[in-house]
């Protein structure tokens, strides 16, 4: 959608999607690779207390910010392809929020790049979550460990 790099598939959408079908299509689109890794993020029910999660985003920045992160991953691990789908709007417990997939020659690159993408999407993609429960609503605050997780990527070759 916003991707300048043809190896990147990026979708930011309100609509639900089918992670299984998406993964199969992603694999089919990248013949010749030896490894595909995927991650699917799901709305937790927080012990059945959460009634909904509302995701807000900065529409003009989301695409460019995710593209920049994904292009780093593609270059660093020589990926044949990367996929990022992230939803916004009101989601219910059990719904899929987002998905990341990477296609590489070997599993090490596919795993590491998917991990890298998730770490950066958590703290550098302009999304904000508000959790609704019977008692009211609360903005989900960023965790210090999420920010700290970014540092490990600069220590590695």
């Amino acid at each position: 959608m916003f991707a300048a790099d043809s190896r990147l598939t990026l979708q930011i959408q309100q609509a639900a999607f089918d992670p299984g079908a998406t993964l199969n299509a992603f694999q089919a689109a990248h013949p010749g690779v030896g490894a595909v890794v995927s991650f699917t993020g799901i709305v937790r029910d927080e012990g059945a207390t959460l009634t909904a999660l509302e995701i807000e985003h900065y529409a003009a920045m989301t695409g460019p910010a995710i593209s920049a992160i994904a292009e780093q991953a593609i270059g660093r691990w020589q990926l044949a392809g990367a996929l990022v789908i992230h939803r916004y709007g009101r989601l219910l417990p059990g719904e899929t929020i987002m998905m990341v997939a990477t296609a590489a020659k070997h599993r090490a690159g596919a795993f590491a790049s998917a991990d890298f993408l998730m770490d950066y999407l958590k703290s550098r993609a302009p999304f904000w979550k508000k959790a609704f429960s019977a008692g009211g609503s609360e903005w989900v605050s960023a965790k210090a460990e999420d920010e700290a997780a970014l540092h490990r990527w600069s220590d590695l070759p």
Partner: protein
């Protein structure tokens, strides 16, 4: 004086009560803009009371509070992001 578009997200948007606004400003840096807004109304002073809990993007790119505003058209303020 230049016109810039300011955007607010998440709890900052709720505290200020607006998703965004156009303002005429002579601020040279992000910090000066925050000071200018804060002196305008208590609502801003309260919302920006702890800049360390906020992030800023200039023309859709993450920036610092010391970043200059020259040539910038859109300034966005928001809490740390919670994607994924």
């Amino acid at each position: 004086m230049t016109m810039i578009e300011i955007l607010y997200f998440a709890w900052l948007r709720e505290k200020i009560g607006l998703p965004g606004e156009r303002v005429e400003t002579s601020a040279q840096t992000v910090m000066q803009l925050i000071q200018e807004l804060s002196s305008r109304d208590d609502v801003y002073a309260l919302a920006f009371a702890d800049p360390g809990s906020l992030r800023v993007a200039l023309d859709q790119e993450l920036a610092e509070f010391t970043s200059p505003l020259s040539g910038v058209r859109e300034v966005a303020f928001f809490p740390p992001m919670t994607g994924g």
